[in-house]
């Protein structure tokens, strides 16, 4: 006997505890099954790209912090990279190494948050795994506070280097952190990856096939979980990444479990990079001589790095004035999100939320 049911539309968001900000999904359900899903963006649009046109090159750096605010340090980097390309400014080697250290610390912190919020979306609704992740994130934030005095929006990188050198107590604290962190990652992995409910909820759920991931121009852990070995740190090395020895972890099927797995492995690889960077860190200046009011020659430049979410790129056009003529941000969360519909259709309501959480977005970056 066929029961006739009628689909209904549910607006999940913009106010919903699991939409990571003010994201809105217009979902058509048939009972609990997702029949159709339409992501709706724009509730947090602040016109950051337009704002850049009214600011000097240096003044825009604090605004990049406001993109993906759980990984602000990594948002500074591609912008200053683009300006340095545009104006052809050399960066001291020590600054390059410190930038790598900051990026990798940021990656660990951001992935901790991604995994923590993912388990939250899976229904650890009393926040237990997330609060464990916060413990380690606190240590990273303490390190950042040492170098720049801020805990959320760092504004640490400058055109031609960094705002200041790291203080004396930074390196011992960093070494201590790098030494004890692998134990904590193993602990999380054991607690989470051997949990039957978590496996049942994530394995095979929300699959993003390899072809679709490439066609959707996905990047970062979302792309790598689908089995594509693509990481800008290896494919187009920036800064000093070509001097480090590390692997690119990839998944096999591209389900929620693989995305979780890839993030855990990437944290381990980041620690490897950190170890090498600490060893190789040279002495010297951290900031090149840069004029206060930068007037890059007319032209264009594209700076991109591998942020924790994927390829973040800043496309800058200069008309030889003190402000950019045009700025465009290639936001990885937005582009990773475009494949969401294909990942959730046919799954249940709970899976839609979990899959969405596994992409790791921040609406501030999606809407800009």
């Amino acid at each position: 006997m066929e029961v006739k049911t009628e689909p209904f539309i549910l607006n999940m968001g913009p106010q919903h505890p699991s939409t990571h900000g003010v994201f809105r999904m217009r979902v058509t359900f048939d009972g609990e099954v997702v029949v159709d899903m339409e992501p709706i963006f724009g509730y947090l649009h602040r016109g950051i790209e337009k704002l850049a046109e009214t600011r000097t090159y240096a003044q825009f750096i604090p605004l990049t912090d406001r993109l993906f605010y759980l990984a602000s340090m990594a948002q500074n980097h591609p912008y200053v990279l683009a300006v340095e390309k545009l104006a052809d400014i050399p960066v001291p080697e020590r600054a390059e190494y410190l930038r790598v250290i900051m990026d990798e610390l940021m990656r660990i912190s951001s992935h901790l948050m991604a995994v923590g919020f993912f388990t939250n979306d899976l229904g650890c609704s009393v926040f237990t795994p997330l609060l464990y992740m916060y413990r380690e994130r606190e240590k990273i934030l303490d390190l950042f506070e040492m170098v720049c005095g801020q805990r959320l929006t760092y504004n640490y990188m400058r055109v031609g280097g960094l705002s200041q050198d790291v203080p004396q107590e930074f390196m011992p604290a960093l070494k201590r952190f790098v030494a004890e962190m692998p134990g904590f990652i193993d602990e999380y992995d054991q607690l989470l990856a051997e949990n039957e409910i978590l496996l049942a909820r994530t394995k095979g759920v929300g699959i993003l096939p390899r072809e679709l991931a490439i066609n959707a121009s996905a990047s970062g852990p979302v792309l790598r979980a689908s089995g594509v070995k693509w990481d800008i740190r290896k494919a187009d090395p920036y800064s000093v990444y070509d001097r480090f020895d590390f692997d690119i972890p990839t998944g096999e099927v591209g389900d929620n479990y693989d995305r979780y797995r890839v993030r855990i492995e990437e944290m381990r690889q980041s620690l490897r990079i950190l170890n090498q960077a600490i060893e190789q860190l040279p002495e010297g200046e951290v900031r090149a001589k840069v004029p206060h009011l930068l007037r890059p020659p007319a032209g264009e430049a594209y700076g991109r790095i591998e942020t924790p979410q994927g390829e973040l790129g800043f496309y800058l056009v200069s008309d030889n004035s003190i402000a950019p003529y045009r700025l465009h941000v290639r936001a990885p969360s937005l582009i990773n999100l475009t494949a969401l519909r294909d990942m959730v259709v046919g799954w249940k309501l709970a899976d839609a939320i979990a899959t969405f959480g596994s992409i790791d977005i921040c609406v501030a970056e999606v809407d800009r």
């Binding site: 229904g123 609704s125 464990y132 046919g346 799954w347």
Partner: protein, 361 residues
């Protein structure tokens, strides 16, 4: 044992009516406090420690806050049903506690001869209130939650009853006094499988732990009580913890020998409370540790895992009761072995829930 220990029926009724209401209110407050305090160490934090010594007044502060909130009824809500639902959810708790003996022969109805049957029947009533709330709120999240509640309650009622029947078979009585008296060794040791099934089904019944699908704050926000505020919300809150209180009290009687324990017989009530609290702490532990199941996994777990295991458990216990005149203590090892083998077998061949559904777009 006489039926009305306090001679006068009305004196007895009045006294125990007050005792039960105070017990529910104090018990719920204690539960809320214990849970929030226990969450602290589980989550690397302190938990409430500001209101009063060790934060002991936190539930009072919460109650005052909730009482002062404005009571909002949605515009398109079904006003009467919306008003009635919290009452209907809360009522079964008082009705169940009316027959729960706190000590041998002490209760509002001291020795109901169909006690457990009555408890099972009444505890299923709460879902009516939940469905009323979900329907009357005129909210899609609430409606999904109400549907989930009905599905889960009906499914988990069956293994719950089957696991209780195992205990009833051994003691040969439905009266809770007789069940406690019939304990030779605690039944959670004698029928470990039955106890596990009871605990898991009870967790789903009382909407806690990994089975809290009808609340599911990361998916359907808060489910059936999303449109409630003020005192009505407090009633739902009270009912949630009240159900936990009742279920752990029933578990203490069925599987932990109720008020029996070492020491003077006057501290029997104390033993009963301690055992109730112990079961609640186990529930807290599970809630704080596990992610939530999906709805199809929840149903599969009830029908493909708990239901057959409960039937086999019933068969084994029944065979033991028939074959052996009086259950000797070594049966415990047989039952442990049976439970171990069955769980191992089922976890090897049992798949949790379905996969992707093909949809025509």
């Amino acid at each position: 044992m006489e039926l009305w220990p306090l001679d006068n029926y009305w004196a007895h009724f009045g006294l125990f009516a007050v005792i039960i209401i105070v017990f529910v209110l104090m018990g719920v407050m204690a539960y809320i406090y214990v849970e929030r305090r226990a969450f602290g160490p589980f989550q690397l934090r302190w938990g409430p420690n500001r209101a009063g010594p060790f934060g002991i007044l936190q539930p009072v502060a919460d109650a005052i806050k909730v009482l002062l909130k404005e009571d909002i009824v949605p515009n398109k809500a079904d006003k009467w049903v919306h008003w009635l639902a919290p009452v209907v959810v809360f009522l079964p708790i008082l009705m169940i506690l009316a027959v729960v003996p706190f000590h041998e022969g002490h209760g509002l109805v001291p020795d109901l001869n169909v006690g457990i049957l009555y408890v099972v029947a009444i505890s299923a009533l709460g879902v009516v209130g939940i469905f009323m709330a979900g329907w009357a709120s005129n909210n899609k999240y609430s409606l999904i939650s109400a549907m989930r509640a009905i599905a889960a309650m009906i499914s988990y009622e069956i293994p719950l009853v089957l696991s209780i029947i195992g205990v009833v078979l051994i003691t040969g009585s439905l009266s809770m006094n007789d069940i406690v008296a019939g304990h030779t060794i605690p039944f959670f040791l004698l029928t470990p499988l039955g106890f596990l099934i009871f605990l898991l089904s009870a967790m789903s019944e009382i909407n806690r732990g990994p089975f809290d699908l009808m609340e599911a704050d990361s998916e359907i926000v808060a489910g059936f009580h999303i449109e409630y505020s003020g005192m009505k919300f407090a009633m739902f809150y009270l009912a949630e913890y009240g159900h936990a209180l009742v279920m752990s009290a029933i578990a203490a009687i069925l599987f932990f020998r109720g008020w029996e324990g070492p020491g003077s017989e006057y501290i029997g009530v104390l033993w009963f409370l301690v055992k109730t609290l112990f079961i609640f702490v186990v529930l807290i532990w599970m809630r704080v540790t596990f992610p939530r199941l999906r709805i199809d996994q929840l149903m599969a777990f009830a029908w493909k895992f708990l239901f057959p295991l409960a039937l086999i458990n019933l068969l084994v216990v029944g065979a033991e009761v028939v074959a052996l005149e009086e259950i000797p203590w070594w049966v415990l090892f047989v039952n442990f072995a049976v439970a171990f083998v069955l769980i191992l077998l089922w976890s090897k061949f049992f798949k949790l829930g379905g996969g992707r559904v093909e949809v025509k777009v």
